[in-house]
């Protein structure tokens, strides 16, 4: 394949778009078919399918694990993570803390974007500014960054408003874009997640990563090809990667079993046995760092979707606690999840925050929940609408249905609206004005640090999302914010943990959100595939291999 795999630099010299290039390659391949087959027995196509869509290719549109994972093959951040999730150099080869609020990053030289442009400090400044403004969902990754300054072509300084010991762990998913490319493709501003249509610029991508995107049809198919000029070390032997969306559980499993795809995510829990029993396939499963939880709008004076008018029942902690105690998480995890869910007491897994083990869930107790409802003034319950994604988390819709059932026992009539994740996140997130009353969210702390939970999910926010950007429920306790602020600058680990524990005690007592469980990752793979399954759940092709 070497004769056909133009490096990006050559491609730009030839002024060929990926489309023209691929048709040229097909032509060339058909002329040279026989020798190439003989020459290139090792080159393979890797096909994988996910339950949801890969929508915008704009790396700041959606802060969602699957999208970040897929784009992580195309883009890179200043830092990266190794297989044990430790931070390693990425597009920055080294960094130093000049003073607590000034970090200096030395950029990797000789790195080229897929279109052949050099990667320089201008691109870093541009990317950070783009990520901090407009419809970006990555503002939280640069929480204390005041300004990014170019020192020379390969050095940038990040100037912080307050010290941030975990800055580098927040930069690995903040992908670097090309400024020139963005100018040429009308992609200077982030495509907001709630927009009805994608900008043409959001349908293309130009990163520095090990793969480039040949074609992208949102919700249908995305084709990746290896970037042979990539600076890093790859273990894959793919000459093409095809991603497709297969929403139906049964169809997705059938596609894997029949060999139509090499990998699926997720394997529905009811099909795990089947996938493992099939001789050519197996399930790769491990606890995920993600915690799935329910959000309750505590900010509005009146809920958007409820028959309670003039007041917001969720402002009363007794109602929130009643909801909590009405949910039988053990039944959900044993029956719906078939054992592949770990009930959670906090919004963060003990793997990331070992102290989470000391927290206990409020017990499942319908009688207590009913009493709480009566005390709060709702002995006959009320009705409200719950919004749920139906293609994001393991069994998301089924879990929401079960919650609906369980809340019916405390006379709360829940109308369930299960919608695709693209619609759901657009509605529930900042760009949709936090438009749900009762919803679901799952969160993997990408920084591998519990502080992110307190700032991103439980920090006070305004209506536009300044503050806790992903705090869908609008929970706000100034004491928690103060503790989080202290923890952010605290460098002593024991002291920092004590601050975090104290903050989580407050959020638990307040029932700021309703934790459900940590789900298990369930990838179904063909036995021909070797792939690294990280607990943060990205599917990285360059770490895979096909026999």
């Amino acid at each position: 394949m070497t004769s056909l795999n133009f490096s990006p630099a050559i491609r730009s010299a030839l002024r060929l778009s990926p489309f023209k290039l691929s048709s040229a390659m097909v032509l060339a391949a058909s002329l040279l078919a026989t020798p190439i087959l003989a020459h290139n027995a090792a080159a393979k196509t890797f096909r994988y399918a996910f339950q949801g869509d890969l929508n915008a290719l704009d790396p700041y549109t959606l802060d969602e694990t699957f999208t970040i994972g897929a784009l992580g093959n195309v883009f890179e951040g200043l830092t990266k993570r190794d297989k044990d999730l430790k931070i390693i150099p990425g597009l920055a080869t080294s960094w130093e803390v000049m003073e607590p609020t000034r970090w200096r990053f030395h950029l990797r030289k000789g790195v080229k974007f897929h279109d052949g442009e050099d990667f320089t400090a201008d691109d870093v400044v541009f990317s950070c500014e783009r990520a901090m403004t407009g419809g970006s969902q990555f503002k939280g990754n640069l929480p204390a960054v005041k300004q990014v300054v170019k020192v020379d072509d390969y050095t940038v300084d990040m100037i912080l408003s307050s010290p941030n010991p975990i800055l580098t762990s927040q930069l690995d998913t903040l992908f670097m874009m090309s400024k020139k490319w963005a100018q040429a493709n009308n992609a200077m501003e982030t495509q907001p997640a709630s927009a009805k249509e994608l900008n043409p610029g959001a349908l293309k991508a130009d990163g520095t990563g090990p793969f480039y995107i040949v074609s992208h049809e949102p919700g249908v198919k995305t084709v990746f090809k290896p970037n042979t000029g990539w600076w890093g070390k790859r273990t894959d032997n793919f000459d093409e990667v095809d991603f497709t969306t297969i929403k139906s559980d049964a169809t997705r499993v059938a596609a894997l079993l029949s060999g139509q795809v090499d990998m699926i995510e997720p394997v529905p829990v009811q099909a795990m046995q089947k996938v493992n029993d099939n001789p050519g396939t197996k399930v790769l499963s491990a606890p995920e760092l993600r915690t799935v939880f329910l959000t309750m709008d505590q900010k509005r004076d009146e809920l958007l979707f409820s028959d309670v008018k003039g007041k917001n029942p969720f402002k009363d902690v007794r109602v929130r606690k009643a909801f909590y105690q009405a949910i039988d998480i053990k039944a959900i995890d044993s029956k719906l999840m078939r054992g592949l869910g770990q009930p959670a007491a906090l919004l963060v897994t003990p793997v990331v925050f070992p102290e989470a083990k000391d927290f206990k869930r409020f017990p499942y107790d319908v009688a207590a929940a009913k009493k709480l409802m009566a005390d709060a003034g709702y002995p006959n319950g009320f009705s409200l609408t719950m919004h749920c994604p139906n293609d994001r988390y393991v069994n998301d819709e089924a879990i929401c249905q079960a919650v609906t059932t369980m809340l019916a026992r405390i006379n709360v009539k829940v109308t369930l609206k299960a919608i695709p994740k693209a619609q759901y996140f657009a509605l529930a997130g900042a760009s949709g004005g936090y438009g749900t009353s009762f919803g679901m969210l799952g969160w993997t702390p990408a920084s591998n640090d519990p502080l992110e939970i307190l700032t991103q999910l439980l920090g006070c926010r305004d209506d536009k999302g300044n503050g806790g950007l992903f705090n869908y429920g609008g929970y706000c306790n100034p004491k928690v914010d103060a503790l989080a602020k202290q923890a952010m600058v605290e460098t002593d680990v024991t002291k920092r943990n004590a601050l975090l524990v104290e903050a989580f005690k407050l959020t638990t007592a307040d029932v700021g959100a309703l934790p459900l469980h940590q789900q298990y990752l369930a990838w179904g793979i063909s036995k021909k595939i070797q792939i690294v399954q990280r607990p943060t759940d990205p599917i990285l092709f360059y770490e895979a291999h096909k026999d």
């Binding site: 046995q273 029956k335 369980m406």
Partner: protein, 317 residues
Amino acid sequence: MSSTTPQPALPENTASWWKRLADSDITYSFTRSKVVMGSAFISALLLLLALFAPYVSPHDPTNLASLDLMNSLNPPAWLQGGSWDYPLGTDNQGRDMLSALLFGLRLSLSVSLASVILAMALGITLGLISGYFGGWADTIIMRIADIQMTFPAILTALLVNGVVRALLGLNHTGGADYWVLVLSIGLSFWVQFARTVRGSAMVERSKDYVAAARLIGVRPTRIMFTHVLPNVLGPVLVIATISLALAIITEATLSFLGVGLPPSNPSLGTLVRVGNDFLLSGEWWIVFFPGLILAILALSVNMLGDWLRDALNPKLR
């Protein structure tokens, strides 16, 4: 048919309606075919079950508080692990399949009936206007009908469904799903009615009795609905029956695609969609029974429609 053709006052006419019905050609043709009698029996049985679903089903699937997740995925009673509390087993939420089926049948039938009635009302009105007045009204209505005929009904239904849902936004309440479905199926089925009625209306328009009615000053609406309409009811009845079978399938298809009724209030199509997820995992009963009932229902209604078409067609007698 006998009611519309003027008849001399013969003794038979004073006999009870039951006797007249028993002596009619239709009854004769009905009793000659076991398939038709079987279809009629099954359709009637399913209709009754749907009507009395709240009384015959062992559980109330709409009462969410009665569901218990711990009873989920039970197999049918005759299999290992099943119990007669849940004769056809339970789904993944612990809902009794038999009860869900009966309520689903009720919903499927009521959506299909309502949408056929809507299609019929729309089609008859437009067909009468088109056939009776002719001219530009005819041209406009029939060209619209022609355009719509070029699309498969399911496509039209999906289109209407999408447009209405987009207009309603995400904020609509649960009850809207039902009417959106009725509207989208109804709007995709009116063309057949309109074309048939138009043809008959054009024939009737030039007949003497219509001319007479017009001469004495009867208003066009009255002529259309009291004089012309009764003469086209036969074919309309046939189309209605066949459309009903198609509407049942269309409803199921839309619900299967996820744009129909929600899982919390499932029709047969929704049940098949939910059960589809369990196809490869051994819990076959979640998808099998709704599919089976759906097939039987559509088949028997279709059979009835076919028979009615033949029985009412004088050329085939």
